[in-house]
């Protein structure tokens, strides 16, 4: 185990963290503003990945694929908001869980219908292929660095959007007081659709960016969705800042756990067992961390 | 005078820089109605929340029946006999009136962890519950779901619940709110009887009712008690007139 390897893993953790943030930001915003728990957020992630893969393979351009992922996920988000989600704002969480669970079934099976059961592959754009030399003798893939940078920039952009723009003011007003926002003369229905589509676009972008690192397949959104839930629960539901910090925490703890736990277990167990047990036991790590945090702060670290 | 049933001493509760309860001392003696009045935002709700246990004070003590209850939870206080009715009517909405009261009887008996015997045929629950409903004049409406009761009847039901709990003191939070004149009159005379059962700390906006009922009045302004006394004393108190009553006359 070398320092270079550790730094590489740390960067991988950051990369997972910023992707989780893109998912979690939408989830937490939708919950904060509309009071809705949306299980189908992972499906929007999947829609983004498939749109990117399809457009990239048609046009040969990853960048057009990225734009398509944003557009497709935003459109899918807006459509389900208008058709389904809108009817759920006044319902209890149980109904929201069930209806969005139903949406997952529809999206997953629908995607399989259109694209078949085989995974699609997305190529990393040529400009970002290869590795970058970092200080300390670390060779790190350029694409992953770009993903970290993009995620960081989007986080900054989102912060600016929320604090500086008219839309942001309306969103914050909506979080604090739904009646006030009506009094401000804001069309709440449109605002909700816009917020939902924005969250969907972020999820779709995350799906596309991750799609180039893994394969693009049905069900890819679900593990990420559950991690994003862990993130927003740890961060405090409704808090963008909490989501950002918790996303990085979860990303780094998860990645470093997978990296370090097998090494640690190898000191007491035979190597093969240390590998299998350590690998999956580290999947439990963030849930244990979440349980600990909630035992002391039942409403998360940055509860609104 | 006998020992106070409820003794609140030097209670302080701050929210940031705001002192919502500012060194409040107030007591409740057997057989009396002690009214707590004050303009909106004076901190009446915050004070009631601390007395019933939903908010913890920053300092000060609350003693009930000679026992320090400052650090007990809501359920524990209720079991000791500190009965509260709510500003916003909040009974179990899907139950009938009778089942609401039966639940209070059950809580008083401390027996929620019995898993077998059906409650509907349990005379040790239905008996006392019907008695309490009869006392407030709701016996005829016992089997109706709460949703079908009028606003005034729900208030009566809340008092029946407090009776069934065997309350040793009542905290009544705006019992007259939303009642027509007839309901108010009926409730006023009922409360006058009820105080023989257990003393009442009454928060109420209806000044006619307060002046008709209260044995003593405390006036809360900006978290402080600015005066405590009989109805006459409060009517004459110059500080009260400027701070509060002036607005109404």
């Amino acid at each position: 185990m070398t320092a270079a390897l550790a730094i590489e893993q740390l960067l991988n953790g950051l990369q997972l963290g910023v992707m989780l943030f893109l998912m979690a930001a939408g989830l937490t915003l939708i919950f904060g503003v509309m009071g809705l728990i949306n299980l189908a957020h992972g499906s929007l992630y999947m829609v983004g990945a498939f749109a990117c893969a399809a457009v990239a393979s048609l046009t040969g351009s990853f960048w057009l694929g990225l734009i398509a992922s944003l557009a497709a996920a935003a459109a899918a988000g807006a459509i389900i908001e208008v058709l389904v989600i809108r009817r759920l704002y006044s319902r209890d969480h149980l109904d929201q869980v069930l209806a969005t669970f139903a949406l997952i079934l529809i999206f997953s099976e629908g995607t399989r219908w259109v694209f078949g059961s085989f995974p699609l592959y997305l190529n990393i754009p040529s400009i970002l292929q290869g590795a970058v030399s970092l200080p300390g003798g670390v060779q790190y893939p350029a694409y992953r660095l770009a993903v970290i940078a993009a995620g960081g920039l989007i986080a900054l952009g989102l912060a600016a959007l929320i604090t500086r723009t008219r839309l942001g003011i309306r969103i914050r007003a909506g979080e604090n007081d739904r009646e006030m926002i009506g009094a401000l003369g804001v069309d709440i229905r449109t605002l909700y659709t816009v917020v939902f589509a924005l969250g969907a676009a972020l999820a779709g972008l995350a799906g596309a960016l991750v799609g180039a690192l893994q394969s693009v397949q049905v069900g890819m959104g679900e593990p990420v969705l559950i991690l994003a839930f862990v993130v927003i629960v740890i961060g405090g539901i409704g808090s963008i800042k909490g989501a950002f910090l918790a996303a990085l925490l979860v990303g780094v703890v998860d990645t470093m756990g997978r990296f370090l736990l097998p090494h640690l277990l190898a000191t007491v167990l035979p190597p093969s067992e240390a590998g299998t047990i350590g690998g999956s036991a580290s999947s439990m790590l963030i849930y244990i961390m979440m349980a600990f945090i909630l035992a002391f702060r039942p409403r998360g670290l940055f509860a609104a | 005078m006998a020992e106070p049933v409820l003794q609140i001493s030097n209670l302080v509760k701050s929210f940031g820089a705001l002192r919502a309860t500012d060194d409040v001392t107030i007591d409740l003696h057997p057989g009396e109605i002690h009214a707590l009045i004050g303009p909106n935002g004076a901190g009446k709700s915050t004070l009631i929340h601390q007395i019933c246990g939903t908010h913890a004070p920053n300092s000060g003590t609350i003693r009930f029946m000679g026992e320090d209850i400052t650090h007990l939870g809501v359920a524990a206080r209720a079991r000791k006999g500190l009965g509260r009715t709510f500003q916003i009517s909040s009974i179990a909405p899907e139950f009938s009136a009778l089942r609401n009261v039966m639940l209070a009887v059950q809580a008083r008996q401390g027996s929620s962890f019995r898993f077998f015997r059906p409650v509907r045929s349990d005379a040790s629950l239905t008996g006392p519950a019907m008695t309490a409903l009869e006392r407030v004049g709701l016996a005829g409406r016992a089997s109706l779901p709460v949703a079908e009761l009028s606003h005034g009847e729900r208030r009566q039901l809340e008092i029946a619940i407090a009776l069934a709990l065997g309350s040793r003191a009542f905290l009544l939070d705006e019992p007259m709110a939303g009642m027509g004149p007839e309901g108010s009159r009926a409730l006023t005379s009922f409360l006058a009887d009820l105080k023989q059962e257990a003393p009442i700390l009454l928060v109420e906006h209806d000044m006619d009712a307060v002046f008709a009922l209260a044995d003593r009045i405390s006036v809360l302004v900006y978290g402080k008690i600015i005066a405590t006394g009989t109805v006459e004393e409060i009517r004459r108190d110059p500080a009260v007139r400027t701070a509060y009553l002036g607005d109404h006359d």
Partner: protein, 324 residues
């Protein structure tokens, strides 16, 4: 007077029983298996119904208890089969009643641990935390190579029940059906008891419950743990039905499906989970024959049920829920 709901309930239960017996008479083993699946899934959802329907605790992690029951059957049964002792030198067992007891106790332990942390929260936090705990144990099952890890664990010979040949499909159906009826009876008794009243008022208005002196936390925790125990017994039966147990029994899809069963059947009904399980299994079977995209249509049916037909099957057959 027997109410319309109870007439419908009795008819549903008898229909399930009759279907299995008719399938036996016709020599259609497959349909007995379907009926058994309905009974077992109905029992699992009946367990969840105690927490979710009566207690308002939307547990999105109940599959974990289902899986714990499954592994109890798989682990005890495989040790009994191989004769190897388990940890602490304990013997395995292939006796269903003993397996159910172990399943229920193991689920109770897990239920207390999960419940103590998650019941402190409420609303959407509770949903997500129960989900996260289930994921945690799901990954634990995957990472546990001794009992098959991700590949799961086969049960070579179905575990035994005194006086019955469990390998005969109808016998195993009758055991499962009996367990379902017992589970529903337990819920009926609990619902009518003092505990049931307390749980109901906690669900309706937690603040009010505290105000009359009923501390919500222990009431909710007890309901959660009892609910976990019933679901675990169903899990043990399910493993015996499939003669296989794997981490997928604990997956979040399974948790979601258990909730779906309750809603399809009709929330707040004793027989809702059974009706929902019947509908679910029939949809799965019939749509599955028509199209391999049956989950797409299941999603649509579920969506329409949630948005427009909140009463579920029993709401349609037996009218609105009445409270006393």
């Amino acid at each position: 007077m027997i109410s319309r709901e109870w007439t419908v309930n009795a008819a549903l239960a008898l229909a399930l029983l009759a279907a299995a017996i008719a399938a036996e008479a016709a020599g259609q083993v497959f349909y007995i298996t379907l009926a058994t699946r309905i009974a077992i899934l109905g029992l699992a959802a009946t367990g969840l119904n105690l927490a979710l329907g009566l207690g308002g605790l939307v547990s999105f992690g109940h599959a974990v208890f289902f899986g714990i029951g499954g592994y109890a059957a798989g682990i005890l049964g495989s040790h009994a089969f191989s004769g190897d002792p388990m940890i602490f030198g304990l013997e395995g067992s292939n006796s269903m009643p003993l397996i159910w007891l172990v399943a229920a106790l193991a689920a109770a332990v897990a239920g207390v641990v999960i419940g103590v942390i998650s019941i402190r929260t409420s609303g959407v936090y509770f949903i997500m935390i129960t989900l996260a705990f289930a994921q945690m144990l799901y990954y634990f099952a995957i990472s546990w190579p001794a009992y098959g890890g991700e590949d799961g664990l086969s049960i070579f010979v179905r575990n035994a029940f005194p006086g019955m040949n469990t390998m005969k499909p109808l016998s195993f159906f009758l055991i499962s059906f009996g367990a379902l009826m017992a589970g529903i009876a337990i819920l009926a008794v609990l619902r009518g008891s003092r505990f049931g009243s307390a749980l109901d008022v906690v669900r309706q208005n937690e603040v009010r419950a505290a105000a009359v002196g009923i501390n919500p936390f222990p009431v909710k925790l007890t309901a959660f743990v009892l609910s976990a125990m019933i679901t675990a017994v169903a899990g043990a039966l399910y493993a015996d039905l499939n003669r296989f147990v794997s981490p997928s029994m604990m997956s979040w899809h399974m948790s979601g499906e258990l909730i779906v069963l309750i809603i399809l059947g009709g929330t707040g009904r004793l027989f809702g989970p059974m009706a929902g399980a019947a509908l679910f299994v029939l949809i799965e079977h019939n749509l599955g024959e028509l199209t391999e995209r049956w989950q797409f249509f299941l999603g649509l049916i579920l969506l329409v049920t949630v948005l427009f037909a909140r009463g579920g099957v029993l709401g349609f057959l037996a009218g609105k829920v009445r409270h006393g």
